[in-house]
Amino acid sequence: MESFEYAQPTGLEEALTLLAEPGTLAQAGGVDLLDRLKEGLDTPKRLVSLRKVKELSGITEEAGGLRVGALATLDELAEHPLMRSRARALAEAALHTATPNVRNQATIGGNLVQRPRCWYFRSDDFHCRKKGGPVCYALEGENELHSIFGNGVCAALHASTLAPALVALGATLDLVSKKGPRTLPVSDFFMPPEREVTKDTVLEPGELLRSILVPLGEPTDRSAYQKQGQRESYDWPLVDVAVWLRLEGETVRDLRIVLGAVAPVPRRATAAETLLRGKKLTEALAQAAGAQATQGATPLAKNRYKLPLLSAVVARTLLSAERGA
């Protein structure tokens, strides 16, 4: 790890001023950041620690739902009573991410902006397309863990396990920079590689993710998240799925199905949603939606297995959401 300066602002304005300087990187929990620094993927002149920036912490209830500060830890999300009861997909996603130690340290903001886990990208040995290099090594290489959708340019997956849940719940992000604040839905946050392959999100230089508004919807809304890793102990998902359901009696009035770990950005399974909207969710329909969710996939040489896996996890997550357990 190269040397760097360390700055610890205590307020948002101060932080934004520091982050406006070139060569700086923001540090929240620092989990993914330290990994990249140790591997030599990033060599910032200065880290700007956000730990003491009070505007970024806390989970509070407001009119539109729960306002989650970017520094809220995964453990806080997983343990938050209202999150567990009214935004269960997010609490479950937080609970099933990383290790217990990491959950005590990692933040929702860091989870959203962490860089992909692609083993070519993560290794200093490969100057891949995502790093500005000429090729995507995974496309013709060892791609068992890579994307099965939207992988024409770069096969890396977005790494956020919270993102599918946030998209499913219809969360919006509150971004801020010296130029001022802006809000956008989480679904618009991630950068498709065909637009700009070296970036993972639409965050501008010097811009900071301040908070996330998680709508709580109606009390009868339901949501669920399921992750299928190779291991149940600490592991990344092979696929993960988040579902949000708005029920009217037994009828699905509205829903969102969001697929993780299969594409460079969280992917809405819109065709599968259409299949279910206005219907009673049965096991057979859930299976059909699972099958539908794989439509349009372009699996690579070694990751075709993700198709049946995805179908199964979509169906299971739908049923889990419907059951509320």
Partner: protein, 992 residues
């Protein structure tokens, strides 16, 4: 002085912990300055930390992690670093009472937080309940992950005093224990919270094997066990036979390990923790290319880099096979690069950071050559050649099939042929034939303590601290390489964080560290990081085996034909052992095993080299043969095992099968694939075989001091199996003491030569010498003190902590007091390992494992619910440690069967999953219920009757799981690991 905990220094590059000479410059938000953000670094800054209730001040750069500061600055080396990436939780500390990974935290982020490390867990010398429970339940083996594991459990109990078993598993779901001690961690955590321990039996079946009585000096008549009586022919000078374990006082009792407290408190010192005055840190320069010639190496810049004290360029081939007849490099100055990660040069500097920076300043020019890392592609005659001509390699390779002088065709070396009878005729005669192609993957050892060495070259001699399984083997290699007499080289391995076969010789890093130390005139530490460990620490070779079995209608095995190709990278040793020939001897056999060279790192011996691979094929196919013969798999094995050609104890294994079948409900086993539903349950089994090896270079010395102190000394080391405790038990038994009264001095070549720890031969090699030394020392003691008892030495007895005249309890004197009767300061006896006593030939050890699995047919996920392991174990010295070792072997096998797979990029030959994040090892939540049954089987060949168990524990597991998977889904999977991709493909093929 400012109240601000951060006082930056102007001096850059300060991390090594040397004395501070630079002036303090106060900057940032210190008092008196204009308000603004605190800015530190990049040079060292003064930080105040709260660690274990005390305030500490350190001077470090902002880039220093909490783990580095705790270990290097504060000397709190109980916090281990296993991966440095937050994936293994070995460095777990409590930060404001919450468990966190110290490797993921910057120390500057911790100045306002309360840190507690493993050293601060025990309050005023009293173990924390979790620590006490870990010792009592033997929830540790090598101990390297133990501090982290303890801290995780302690944090859980603080938050949740009565956790459920599932909560315990979740709490340690980020902790990697490569020894596989999870079941006991669960038990310890539950016990520490005052709850019942989870199920998982340890049963000892007292059974004595029949034996001939060649000379008939002594017959042990305790023939009540199912295996009958044992006879032994005891040479002169050997101690008398021990009775069965039930009649002994400490041997055979479940004994917490004698170094348990050291390990649960973080006090145990590993090579990883060694810090000598003036010690330098080495960093290797490795080739990023898989195949290249080195044109030049320019070290000028590195030599003048800050902090650099020595640079070493590798100019001899240090790894892999050697060209036949051309051991020299010829006119080449540098060895050919044959794998990405091969060491090219190394530097030693005053800090790890300085070494790393300097290593980057060594400029190497390569001429790139084509490479091949895929085993199938490497067999193509047109594939790039790893070696230009035929090669040979000594015995430290990964498995069988490494005979010298074999033919070599392209990258394919061999075959190593084994043959008896006419296998083609046997196959023609066979009414039933089954054949299959079995593929197994490369597995890295991934010991939690990486390979590492601290070499200290002085005029008076070389001292080397080494994370090794063989202190003497390291010494001997260094003596050869550096032309030093054995008397001038001392190798120390006090505690060691796992080896599993990959840590025997000095290896290239030991040689390089020694070169650097000699050049620098200072001790040099060279320890791999996790990626280097995956890359260069050794591995279990891959295999592709084509196996055919031919049998008569009655199930008589007429022919076994094996052809195998495996790759151990640039090393030989990718064979699959002799199991196809020996597990079930057939009337005819032909085995042709080949090494396929690839541009990949060299393999190393790995827990039963070659054998789990071989068993995976043989037992898989025997199951299929049973199906084709319409026989129950157990019934067929009853028949095959009964063959008189076998070397296994047939009665013992029949008993083992019976016990397992009863416990696991074999009679109710469904037909393959008959379980309805999407998640299918299956039950399977497989058998193991392992040879009986003895290292005759096994000596031990026992000293009894006049003050009653007792020492046992041998250079054998304890790699986490409990050798230290076993030696204490044997000496204590002989002297009528308790194990805590014995000082065990091991892991140091200054002691009498002991065996290397490996081959499942450590205790069976050394305990007979230990017992003989103790017994003879006792005779010397008796001779020295008999006059005070007014009797002859032969009539004295040491038992229950006392010495008395036989049959006269009133004469008893406490041991300590009796020792004081000596006129000299001590009695000493050095004993060597006696040859095995006469008797009929003993082939190897058998064992049977049963596995119960759930297979999710939609996701392809396999979950092992339970493993029932029944093993012959000779005379168990410490059943608690044997149980731990068997659990560990099972976890290794399970992890290999389902998860582990080293991935190299075919295009570049580079390692892709060199982390504990992407190289997947089974963890807490993958741990099944494990039941261990030990069948006592005293073979009467030594004075301790010890068998080996480390390797037998690992051999059958993967095959048993594969057998259970077939029973669940009705499809035979012949490729490891059985990942969702593999399982779903197999199911799809059946569906199609």
């Amino acid at each position: 002085m400012s109240k601000d905990p951060h006082i930056p220094l102007t001096r850059r590059g300060f991390l090594g912990g040397a004395a501070v000479t630079g002036a303090l410059t106060i900057a940032g938000s210190a008092e008196g300055k204009k308000p603004g953000p605190r800015i530190l670094g990049p040079g060292a800054a003064l930080l105040r930390l709260q660690v274990n209730g005390a305030k500490s001040t350190v001077m470090v750069e902002p880039r220093a992690t909490l783990a580095q500061v705790l270990r290097d600055q504060l000397g709190l080396t109980g916090t281990k670093v296993g991966c440095d990436r937050g994936s293994c939780s070995a460095c777990t500390v409590h930060v404001d009472k919450k468990p966190m990974s110290a490797c993921l935290l910057l120390a500057v982020d911790c100045t306002d937080r309360e840190i507690r490390t493993i050293e601060g867990l025990a309050a005023r010398g009293t173990l924390h309940p979790v620590q006490a429970a870990f010792v009592e339940h033997d929830a540790l083996q090598c101990g390297f992950c133990t501090p982290g594991m303890v801290m995780s459990c302690a944090a859980l109990l603080a938050a949740q005093p009565k956790p459920s078993l599932d909560e315990v598993k979740t709490a340690v779901s980020g902790n990697t224990c490569r020894c596989g001690t999870y079941p006991k961690v669960f038990a310890a955590a539950m016990a520490a919270s005052g709850q019942a321990v989870p199920p998982g039996d340890l049963v000892i079946i007292g059974g004595h094997r029949d034996g001939d009585i060649p000379k008939g000096q002594l017959l042990l008549g305790q023939g009540e066990g199912p295996l009958g009586t044992v006879a032994r022919s005891i040479p002169k000078d050997e101690p008398p036979a021990w009775p069965e374990n039930g009649a002994l006082s400490v041997v055979g009792k479940r004994t917490p390990r004698v170094d348990g407290v050291e390990k649960v408190t973080g006090a145990a010192r590993y090579t990883f923790d060694v810090k000598l005055p003036g010690m330098l840190y080495a960093k290797r320069v490795t080739s990023p290319h898989a195949h290249a010639e080195i044109l030049s190496i320019d070290t000028t810049d590195a030599e003048t880099a800050p902090g650099v004290r020595a640079v070493h360029v590798v100019e001899t081939q240090l790894e892999g096979a050697k060209l036949q007849g051309a051991p020299k490099l010829g006119d080449k100055r540098y060895p050919t690069v044959r794998y990405a990660g091969q060491t090219v040069a190394a530097v030693a500097a005053t800090s790890p950071e300085a070494a790393e920076a300097a290593a980057k300043r060594i400029r190497v020019r390569y001429e790139l050559k084509p490479h091949v890392v895929d085993v199938d592609a490497a067999r193509d005659p047109k594939a790039p050649l790893v070696y230009p001509t035929a090669v040979d390699m000594g015995g430290s390779a990964g498995g069988g099939g490494a005979a010298r002088g074999l033919a070599q065709n392209g990258n394919v070396r061999g075959p190593a042929l084994t043959e008896h009878g006419d296998v083609e005729a046997g196959l023609r005669k066979s009414k039933v034939k089954v054949t299959g192609v079995f593929r197994t993957q490369v597995q890295t050892h991934s010991a939690m303590e990486p390979h590492g060495v601290v070499a200290d070259w002085k005029a008076s001699g070389l001292t080397v601290y080494c994370s090794t399984q063989g202190t003497n083997t390291v010494r001997d290699e260094l003596c050869t390489v550096f032309d030093l007499p054995a008397s001038k080289v001392r190798v120390i391995a006090e505690h060691m964080g796992g080896g599993f076969g990959a840590k025997f010789g000095a290896r290239h890093e030991g040689i390089i560290a020694t070169h650097l130390s000699r050049k620098a005139g200072a001790p040099v530490r060279l320890v791999f990081d996790r990626k280097e460990e995956h890359q260069s620490g050794g591995n279990r070779p891959s295999t592709v085996q084509t196996l055919t079995l031919g049998a008569s209608e009655k199930g008589e095995l007429l022919a076994v034909k094996l052809e195998s190709f495996g790759t151990g990278g640039i090393a030989t040793g990718a064979g699959v052992g002799a199991v196809a020939e020996r597990l079930y001897p057939a009337r005819s056999f032909r085995g042709a095993q080949h090494d396929v060279f690839t541009h990949a790192s060299p393999c190393a011996a790995f827990r039963a080299p070659g054998v789990p691979q071989g068993i995976f094929a043989v037992e898989g196919l025997v199951d299929e043969l049973a199906e084709r013969l319409g026989l129950d798999p157990l019934a067929l094995r009853d028949r095959l095992d009964a063959d008189e050609l076998g070397t296994i104890d047939r009665e013992a294994r029949r008993l083992e099968r019976k016990l397992g079948a009863e416990a696991m409900g074999w009679a109710k086993r469904r037909r393959p694939g008959a379980d309805p539903g999407r998640i299918k349950r299956g039950l399977g089994m497989a058998q193991s075989i392992w040879g009986r090896f003895v290292d005759m270079g096994s000596n031990a010395e026992v000293r009894i001091h006049k003050d009653g102190g007792v020492e046992v000394r041998s250079s054998v080391m304890d790699l986490g199996t409990g050798t230290r405790t076993a030696l204490a038990l044997v000496v204590a038994e002989e002297l009528g003491l308790t194990p805590d009264q014995i000082a065990v001095r091991i892991g140091d070549t200054d002691h009498p030569q002991g065996p290397a720890s490996g081959g499942s031969k450590t205790l069976l090699s050394v305990t007979p010498a230990v017992r003989a030394a103790a017994w003879h020392a006792k005779q010397k003691l008796f001779a020295a003190i008999a006059h005070r008892f007014k009797t002859s030495p032969e009539r004295l007895l040491a038992s229950g902590g006392q010495i008395s005249v036989e049959g006269q309890a009133q004469t008893a004197v406490p041991f300590k007091k009796a020792c004081a009767f000596m006129k000299t300061g001590e009695v000493v006896h050095l004993a060597k390992r006696a040859a095995d006593y006469d008797g009929p030939p003993r082939g190897g050890y058998g064992g049977v494992q049963f596995a119960e699995v759930l297979v999710d047919t939609e996701t392809g996920i396999i979950r092992v619910e339970r493993v029932y392991a029944v093993h012959e174990c000779g005379r168990p010295i410490n059943p608690l440690a044997i149980q731990s070792q068997i659990s560990g072997g099972i976890m290794h096998g399970l992890s290999w069967a389902l998860y582990e797979d080293r991935v190299l990029d075919r295009r570049t030959g580079r390692l892709l999953n060199g982390t504990l994040d992407s190289y997947k090892i089974a963890g807490a939540k993958e741990t099944p219920r494990i039941d261990v049954v030990l069948v006592e089987q005293y073979v009467g060949r030594t004075n301790t009757d010890v068998h080996g168990i480390g390797e037998p524990a690992n051999i059958a597991t993967a095959a048993a799981i594969a057998s259970a998977v077939h029973n669940a889904i009705g499809v035979r999977i012949r490729t490891l690991p059985m990942t969702p991709a593999v399982v779903l493909a197999a199911l799809a093929q059946r569906g199609a």
